[in-house]
Structures are given as structure tokens and as C-alpha cells.
Amino acid sequence: MEVYLIHLGSLVCIYILLSLSFNLVVGYTGLLNLGHVGLMAIGAYASALLMKLAGIPFGVALMGAATLSGLIGALLALPTKKIRGDYYALVTLGFMFVVFAVLVNWESLTRGTLGIPGIPRPEGFTTNTTFLLLSVGITAVVFLFLDRLVHSPFGRALEAVRDDEDVAQALGKPVFKLKVISMAISGFVVGLAGALLAHFVQFISPGMFWMDLLVWALAGMMIGGVASMRGTVLGVVILFGLLEPMRFLDIPSAYVGPLRLLIMLTLLLLIVLYKPRGIMGRAELEG
């Protein structure tokens, strides 16, 4: 049991990073970035390839991968110059499909659907216990950074963008710049999450970065709280607490995955209907 919990701990940290970064851009900035998981995939593949093929040290690969995700995240903010709301969500969803297609089809680099096995863990963090310490450390630093950010004047300016772009501009806020920075930071963090996942599981394939992961990001934010970093941590922990015990139920393993997704979506629906801000949320998204 202890081994299992240690293993689970790293995954919880990675999913917290996924949801925190999603909340920054969706909950605080009001950009429904459905391509978030695509940025995570870029982080995962970049870090894995940098370390495995190029032999670059873990720390450099990790930061390089996160920086690449952050840069692409910033580029993904460019369409917001012209489009808003649901249209932006569609564009970013398209981005996720493009990333998936590239990962599947660029076989010479990514091995396509076969995925990349044998991704090394960093030296000194090869056991699950030490990797958990690394994951907790990185998650704690990111959490403290993001929590400070959203409680600063900069965070409030992001919330102004979320609530009303026109008024934000009329008050002299450079809305586009704020969106680009938010997407860059969010991309960096989710790239970090992707990289950690790659080195933790030691295998990645395109199918790991698909809609179900997006549902995780969304559910963590919606349950814990829209525009609440602390709530997001709580939301992800609640989700794991509810869904993980299902592994021990006496049902065929093929049903466990879909059933977990079904429960998560039901929970999400109930939250949206009855507590749209989530448990600790400070904002309600337009819908």
C-alpha cells in the first residue's frame, strides 16, 4: 500500500500542476484554452527527447521543455488579438488536434503511436520515493509562485481581463500583453507537468495527452474553485480520493477507466449546476 501511495503522490503533484496552470489561464484570465493538454504533450516530448536522444542533463531538459511549452503557449495567445470566447476555445482545441497529429505522424522523432519507452529518470531521483520528493518540491515552488502572482496587482489585472476586456482597456490595461504573459506562464507550468510525467512514467505516447487529461484539468479547477489556486489543489486531491479506490473494486479492469471518466464528468456536471464557482472559487465563468 505504501508503495502505491508513493507512486500516486507523484501523479497527484503532476495533475495539480496541470490544473493550476489551467486555472491561471481559464479561471483567472478567462481564456478557455482547450489546447492546454497539447502544451503538456510538448513539454513531455521535449524533455524526454532532449534527455534521451541529446543526452542533455535532466535539469536543463526540464527547463528547456517548460520554456518551449511556455513560448508556444505565448504564441497560442496571438489569436486572442482577433477572437474571443467560444471561438478561441475552438481554435485552441484545434491546436490540441494538431499537436496530436504531429506526435502520431512524425515517426522519425516521436516513434508515432508506439511512443517513447525507457525515458530516464534524473540521477538521484530514480526511485519512486525520491521522485515524489522532486515532484513535491517542484509543485510547492510552482504553487507558491502562482499563489503569489494571483494575489498581486498583476493577478488582479488578469481578473479584470477575464471579467471585461473593454473596461480593462478603458482603464489602461494592455489586455493582449496580459493574455500573452498568462498563456506563457501557464504553458511553462503545464510543460513542466508534462516533463515530470514523462520522466516519472518513463514512457509517453500521443494517446496519453488527449481529452481525458483535459477533463482532469477542467474538473480539478471546477471542483476546487475557479480562480483559486488553493481550491485547485483541493479539487485534484478530492478527485484522486474519489477515483483511485475504484482500482480496488471487483470489476473488469477495462471498465475502470471509462467508469472513472463517467464519475468525473457527473461530478463536473453537478458542480456546474449547483456550485459553479467550485468549493473555494472566487469567480463564475461565462457560460
Binding site: D163, D164, Q169, L171, G172
Partner: protein, 246 residues
């Protein structure tokens, strides 16, 4: 201070603003009036940059405004309210007003220097402004909890706190009760006495007569007349436009 020259804006085949030109003099209250659909709010949107003009020029203290992004226009000294109150609806009154007061909150490095809690000086300014406009509410109240009239006062407070040299008010007293209307009147007179320059859209002609130094009348996108309130409101074309719209 503000010069609008041959400003034009069409939506499809409709010319919402058609070759409109007028000036706003420093330390004056200029009222932009006209029947519904005359193009007044479109002029505000074009001047503040929330819509792009098809043709014409807008200069503000010598600067060509139409070349600037909307947020830069705010930073050169335009501050405005909206016809329907637009709020940062998930934030408190204080947070909303701090957003108007602070100009450096888009600087990420500030996060390491200051929290969201307004510093004492800023809070003091906010409380003084709320007192000045007559908004008697706990600043921590979520802004959507304000009544309609209070939201109008809040709009004015926010526009005033935003550093500016020209205040643009879009129907500040539309739908408010007579007592509050009088309150607005007093506040605008005080602002003028303090040297403010105000461009105002308003339908209430008594209100306009009481506060405005100069009146610009628009009808169907075109400039119909301009001059002192007494002269403009005796103008037959103006009377016809208004009576025709009732």
C-alpha cells in the same frame, strides 16, 4: 483639448457616424445629445478606441488618438464610463477601484513587491472618492451587489480614479431617481470647479442645461447643431429632431 474631425463609421450600409466634427474645450462640460440611434455612443467608442473609425481624425492634446491602441488612449488621459454599467463582476468595489487607480499592475515583477491589498494611501484615496461621489457602501462588497443607482455612482468613481485629463461620461443619470440625479449634478459642478474637462452623453435636457457649457447635437449620425445650451435648445432643427423621435 479634444478635436474630432470628419469622423465616420458605417455598419454595413448604415452610417452610424457621418462626417462628424466638433471640439471639446479644456475645463468645460460639453454635452453630446441627440435622439436614440443618433450615433453618440458610437462616437465614444471611436474616440476611446473600442471601435475602429472608417475615416476622420481625433486629436487629443496634439496626439493622433486613432493611431493608439485603446489602452494607450486611456494612458494618455481618456477616462470613460459606459452606457450600461460594466463591472469586473467577480471583484469587490475596492478591487475594481484599485484597478482604476494603479497603472503599473501589468508589470509582472510587481508581484514580488506588493500584494493586492491596497496600500494605505491608495485605500484612503478610494474611500475619499467614494465619499465624494456619495457611494456609501463597504468597499469589500462585491460590485454586483450594488443597486443600479449605486453602480452609476461607482462608474463615476472608477472613471475619476483612473488618471485622466478628459472624462467621458455615457448617460451617467439614465434611469436614476431624481435625488440621485441632483447628486450627480452637484458632483459634476464640483468637478468643473476643480478644473475637470468633461464630455457627456445625456438625454435629460434639464440636466444638460444645468451642467453643460457647450452642447453638440447629433441626429442620424450627423452633426445637427452646436453651441451654448440656450441657443441649441431654441434651434428649430434640434426641436424637430427631438420631437420627431418621441
Amino acid at each position: 483639448m479634444l478635436t474630432i474631425s470628419h469622423l465616420t463609421k458605417s455598419f454595413g450600409g448604415v452610417k452610424a457616424v457621418d462626417d462628424v466634427s466638433f471640439d471639446v474645450a479644456k475645463n468645460s462640460i460639453t454635452a453630446l445629445v441627440g435622439p436614440n440611434g443618433a450615433g453618440k455612443t458610437t462616437v465614444f467608442q471611436l474616440v476611446s478606441g473600442l471601435m475602429r473609425a472608417d475615416a476622420g481624425a481625433v486629436t487629443f492634446e496634439g496626439q493622433d488618438l486613432l493611431r493608439l491602441a485603446p489602452w494607450r488612449r486611456a494612458r494618455v488621459g481618456l477616462s470613460r464610463t459606459f452606457q450600461l454599467s460594466k463591472l469586473f463582476k467577480n471583484l469587490s468595489i475596492e478591487d475594481n477601484l484599485l484597478l482604476a487607480l494603479r497603472e503599473d499592475d501589468d508589470k509582472l515583477w510587481n508581484m514580488f513587491l506588493r500584494g493586492t491589498g491596497g496600500e494605505a494611501m491608495e485605500k484612503k484615496k478610494i474611500h475619499e472618492m467614494m465619499d465624494f461621489v456619495g457611494l456609501k457602501k463597504d468597499p469589500t462588497t462585491i460590485v454586483t451587489d450594488l443597486s443600479y443607482g449605486q453602480q452609476k455612482l461607482f462608474d463615476l468613481a472608477r472613471a475619476l480614479l483612473n488618471r485622466h485629463t478628459l472624462l467621458m461620461l455615457d448617460e451617467p443619470v439614465a434611469g436614476v431617481n431624481p435625488i440621485l440625479r441632483q447628486q450627480f449634478k452637484d458632483v459634476l459642478r464640483q468637478l468643473k470647479a476643480q478644473g475637470e474637462t468633461i464630455l457627456l452623453i445625456e438625454h435629460d435636457m434639464d440636466f444638460v442645461r444645468a451642467v453643460a457649457d457647450h452642447v453638440v447635437v447629433m441626429d442620424q449620425g450627423r452633426l445637427l447643431a452646436e453651441g451654448s445650451p440656450d441657443r441649441v435648445f431654441r434651434d428649430e432643427k434640434v426641436l424637430e429632431a427631438y420631437l420627431g423621435s418621441i
